[in-house]
């Protein structure tokens, strides 16, 4: 193998934040025409490294060489000028502008002091065609497209600037299987055109499918750089978490089947043909105490919409819902919460966190809300609860006064879980509780779900990862095209069985 000169060569990168060494002498090399995966658990320093490369964080020591020139980026604009483009997990585009405006924002071709709209259209179309996205209407408003398409448009934007380096930070976390394939087609097209691609993802299978080489980080240090095909999955995982794999495999398998829920009693929650115009329909569910119901379906099949109906976040206009056999109409989350229902949204940042408040304030928020503002939860109780859940859920940093926006995704998720556990709900609806968080935290959360159900809590569990749904659930409700198409007990159901239902039932 003859070494060619890397497009990007970061060496000995260190970044220190007050009190934390976020990166300690880390190297990263990206080669032309290669997909490079950056691997590591949450808090390993992946984001920090990316931000060093994109000029968001200044580096304390080390060198960054791009296309043979040494750079010291002090702003994202400088990194972009060096032909480095980034597409973040949350799409950073303007939803109210059209596709073409987004692709060419800030670089619109001009004519006589105004924008040359014809040229804008032509250029947008050209780049979309290059990426085989010709079916997207450049004049359509961005927000009318799915997250997946928006992400592809964000990539199209970076292609338009003729980027030499493309960084994709968790691009697949909200995509379903088909969309991931669509994204990968685009990534391969770009790779073949000689772009160096840095791919960050928690999905191992995807990493193995798309990447040629990987760099593994752990606790801000470099573990090593490997060729993907030479590093087996187990080897990668143990390098990422620094433990022997056996222990982890043990943990995963420890999800032995629990006692089935109490079927003899009246169901905690019963929904009959529940639905809402334009949202989801035919939701029929009976859930007993201590049972876990998994919602399976592709992205956009109506999983989240179902959860929102059951929680009163959206008001149902069809069918019936009853709690403990009493008919209910939920007008707002408040009424649902008062009936003992809790809902943790998939969208942590937008629908879960109160970013500028402390971990403690976030923890007690739901409890405080249900008590009303007059009866403040005493500070000592707040502290007690915060300390207890920081300990039992292993929330890091173990500081109840830290602002929650400074925590990593997995730890934020734990705080949100704790927010609901404090209210001691009878039915806990978890929408993608393990999305975008590392394996360690994921296993902890899965175990927690099992043990909560064993204690008699009913749980509705939503995940895009079908294996996870199969491993945890007592039964599985299957959604397709915003309609519930199946409801099966989970006794020896395989992924294929569920896939068959999804594929086979005409919508």
């Amino acid at each position: 193998m003859n070494e060619i000169v890397p497009v990007v060569d970061m060496s000995g990168i260190s970044i220190e934040f007050p009190g934390v060494k976020a990166l300690d002498a880390v190297d990263l090399r990206l080669f032309q025409g290669e997909v490079h995966a950056l691997m590591g658990e949450n808090g390993a320093g992946k984001s920090t490294l990316i931000k060093a490369l994109t000029g968001v964080y200044p580096i304390d020591s080390g060198t960054i060489t791009v296309l043979g020139a040494t750079h010291r980026f002090s702003s994202p604009a400088e990194a972009q000028a060096a032909r480095i483009s980034t597409v973040y997990q949350e799409v950073n585009l303007c939803p109210n502008l059209s596709v073409e405006e987004n692709i060419l924002l800030g670089r619109e071709p001009r004519r006589r002091g105004g924008i040359h709209w014809k040229e804008v259209r032509r250029k947008a179309r050209e780049v979309l065609d290059q990426l085989q996205l010709g079916h997207i209407d450049p004049g359509s408003v961005l927000s009318t497209h799915s997250i997946a398409i928006q992400q592809l448009i964000a990539i199209a934007r970076s292609v338009q600037v003729d980027a030499k380096v493309l960084i994709l930070d968790e691009p697949t976390s909200s995509l379903d299987a088909d969309e991931v394939q669509q994204l990968f087609t685009v990534i391969r097209t770009l790779r073949d055109r000689g772009v160096a691609i840095l791919f960050v993802s928690h999905f191992l299978e995807q990493v193995y499918e798309i990447s040629d080489r990987m760099t593994v980080l752990r606790n801000g240090r470099l573990v090593g750089e490997y060729r993907t095909r030479e590093l087996p999955r187990m080897g990668l995982i143990s390098k990422m978490i620094g433990k022997e794999m056996d222990a982890l495999a043990e943990l995963e398998r420890a999800e032995s089947r629990r006692q089935p829920g109490r079927q003899d009693e009246a169901p905690v929650l019963q929904a009959q043909d529940l639905g809402r115009k334009g949202s989801v329909r035919d939701v029929t569910i009976a859930l007993h105490a201590g049972e876990i119901l998994g919602l399976a379906g592709l992205l956009g099949s109506g999983r989240t919409e179902t959860a929102r109906l059951l929680f009163g976040a959206d008001r149902a206009d069809q069918g019936h819902l009853s709690i403990d056999g009493t008919a209910q109409t939920f007008r707002s989350p408040r009424t649902a919460i008062n009936r003992g229902i809790a809902f943790s949204s998939e969208n942590r940042k937008e629908e879960g966190l109160i970013g500028d408040l402390s971990v403690r304030d976030n923890l007690v928020l739901a409890m405080q809300a249900s008590k009303g503002w007059l009866r403040r939860v005493p500070r000592s109780t707040q502290d007690q609860l915060a300390e207890k859940f920081i300990r039992t859920l292993d929330i890091r940093p173990a500081n109840k006064d830290a602002l929650i926006r400074n925590l990593s995704g997995g730890n934020q998720q734990k705080v949100l879980l704790a927010r609901w556990l404090i209210t001691n709900p009878r039915l806990l609806i978890l929408d993608e509780p393990t999305r975008g968080i590392d394996i360690g935290a994921k296993t902890q959360i899965q175990k927690l779900i099992s043990s909560l159900a064993a204690d008699g809590m009913s749980i509705i569990f939503i995940s895009a990862e079908l294996e996870e749904v199969l491993r945890l659930s007592d039964h599985i409700a299957i959604l397709k095209d915003r309609q519930m198409v199946g409801h099966i007990p989970n006794d020896g159901v395989t992924m294929e069985d569920v896939m068959t239902i999804i594929a086979g039932t005409p919508a």
Binding site: P333, S345, G352, L365, A366, Q368, A369, L374, V377, R405
Partner: protein, 343 residues
């Protein structure tokens, strides 16, 4: 030392102290407070007394802004409060009795509460943007006040009523005591109960707050009602101080002073974390400025420009970005909020 420099109250307090010292430089008796007839007198007392209406309104404004709103109608509400109370006193059979004064005050307070309810209704139930919703009353309110006073300036002569704005109790002007009490009540109300945290939660992330079971509607309603109440009391002080209701000029532009006070005090217009103490300091800075203009003998035609200059300087001092530029430091502090789009 570093922590002190970063504290969000350090710069406003520093600005206030500098302003006071500047005055002292030009008038050597500026900082002295003397006792005369058992009452406290002096420029400092004047600043507090004249600033009391602004302090009151800024208190209400702080909570409104923390909830991601804004209340432009406070000046008009103050005018209406003054108008209804003075008109009531003027038309009553016994215009100089304590009972009449109390009745006038009660009517004004009720008016403030009702107008606050109206604003809260527009914002939280109908869902109109706060700036527009309160703009309605800002414009219409002056008209309402004129209707009440029949377009006249209503003068009243009632000692009890006059005491609100110009009286003394235990040696201190009553208006200062009222403002202090309102400050204390607001502090206790928001920090002893969970109201403050919930207002901040709604201001930071309304969607997440709703999903956590907060009744954002009632919280938003509460802050506008409180703001209306504060404006009404301020209106009483203003009209009492001149023993007349002037529908056109009472509380004119006071909403701007109040918003400025909130911002100088370090509460972001984007909502969320707020500081009542900061607002107090902000309001005092603004009032001190007005006094400084007189002390320095600045010609009235450049008064507003001078005020604007000082406000800009204070805001720049507070901006960490501007401070970094001043210090010529290349290293920006890594903060999540600084993360920019890079596609």
């Amino acid at each position: 030392m570093n922590a002190l420099l970063k504290h969000r109250l350090t710069w406003p307090v520093l600005a206030l102290v500098l302003l006071l010292l500047l005055n002292q430089l030009f008038r050597s008796d500026f900082l002295s407070v003397r006792v005369q007839d058992g009452h406290l007198y002096g420029s400092l007392i004047d600043i507090l007394r004249n600033g009391a209406p602004t302090i009151l309104i800024a208190l209400g404004m702080t909570l409104v802004i923390a909830s991601r709103g804004i209340d432009l109608s406070v000046g008009a509400v103050a005018a209406i409060a003054g108008a209804v109370s003075c008109t009531y006193i003027y038309n009553s059979p016994d215009p100089s009795s304590l009972r009449t004064a109390a009745g006038g005050v009660a009517i004004a307070v009720v008016a403030g509460l009702v107008l606050g309810l109206w604003n809260g209704f527009l914002v939280s139930v109908i869902g109109i943007q706060p700036i527009i919703a309160t703009l309605v009353l800002m414009t219409a309110g002056r008209g309402l006040a004129q209707l009440v006073t029949d377009g006249q300036i209503i003068s009243v002569s009632n000692d009890s009523y006059q005491a609100i704005g110009a009286g003394f109790f235990l040696g201190l002007p009553i208006s200062i005591l009222i403002a202090a009490a309102a400050f204390g009540v607001a502090g206790l109300l928001t920090r002893r109960t969970a109201l403050g945290t919930l207002i901040e939660a709604v201001g930071i992330n309304p969607v997440a707050s709703r999903l956590a079971g907060l009744s954002a509607r009632s919280i938003i309603w509460t802050v506008y009602v409180f703001s209306g109440l504060c404006a009404a009391i301020a209106g009483l002080m203003i009209s009492s101080n001149v023993t007349a209701a002037d529908a056109n000029n009472a509380g004119l532009y006071i909403e701007m002073d109040a918003i400025l006070a909130v911002v100088i005090g370090g509460t972001s217009l984007a909502g969320g974390r707020y500081s009542l103490v900061g607002t107090l300091v902000g309001a005092l800075i603004i009032q001190t400025l007005t006094t400084t203009v007189y002390t320095l003998g600045i010609p009235p035609e450049v008064t507003l420009v001078f005020k604007a200059l000082v406000v800009i300087i204070v805001c720049l001092l507070q901006s960490s970005k501007a401070r970094d530029l001043l210090r010529q430091r290349r290293r920006p502090v890594a903060k999540q909020s600084d993360v920019k789009v890079a596609v």
